[in-house]
Subunit: 140 residues, 2 copies
């Protein structure tokens, strides 16, 4: 190869090293989303290949921590999939009732539904603060 | 240029895409691994929540392209999960026999097994180039 191509390759290799240490050198951090389902807050976590019996869920005040692991594939020739253990702590975007989380694992996605402290009752996402409200049957 | 260099360049192009879309929430590029299973090369792709009927697989010479999609979750409050369509092209790390790919989707991981042109016959991963080798029963 000629020199400009080699120089370019070298630049790119350096870049690759930088990026690899950026993303894959560190721990595995699965992508997560929060969605609103009126009476519930739902956490979605991408955990392909993670066995249900390795998953742990810990609620602590305003945060929930999810941990789990998956084994590395066999004789690896190359790639960029993370493996091993992960642990991710997330802050609830709205108040939830403690210990109401119900987890489900399907198609590589962990879904955890938490009961909201203040259910959303209309499309404008108003919150109920009155404990004695006749519509607030879900509140304790 | 020879094949290893082409493969390397291809990796780097993919990397460039990833770097360019790092901060922008750009296209979804699922993580992928290649593993060696003696007579087969295996591609592993993390595609949690992707329905099998949206997946497409296209072999073109030294590359295989995988495409698919998943819908965004409901009312999103925040998060970092990619959604929508993805398309990723990968270069075979070793020669495979054309159109031998067999795909399987489980636990959010797409696994595609390709028959190698030159099966690995020992732990040192030596390659057979002789067509008449007594150990190479899988070669055509």
């Amino acid at each position: 190869m000629n020199e400009p191509v080699l120089a370019r390759l070298h630049q790119l290799m350096t870049l690759r090293e930088q990026v690899e240490t950026l993303g894959t050198g560190g721990p595995w951090i699965p992508a997560a989303d929060w969605t609103d389902e009126d009476t519930h807050l739902v956490l979605h976590l991408d955990v392909p290949g993670v066995a249900a019996d390795t998953l742990e869920l810990l609620e602590e005040g305003p945060t929930v921590t999810v941990a789990g692991e998956r084994s590395a594939p066999g004789r690896l020739l190359g790639g960029d999939r993370p493996s091993g253990a992960f642990r991710r702590s997330l802050t609830f975007p709205q108040d939830v009732l403690p210990q109401t989380g119900e987890a489900q694992l399907a198609h590589g996605i962990l879904t955890v539904r938490f009961q909201k402290r203040h259910p959303t009752i209309d499309v404008d996402a108003e919150h109920l603060d009155a404990g004695g409200d006749p519509g607030g049957h879900d509140a304790p």
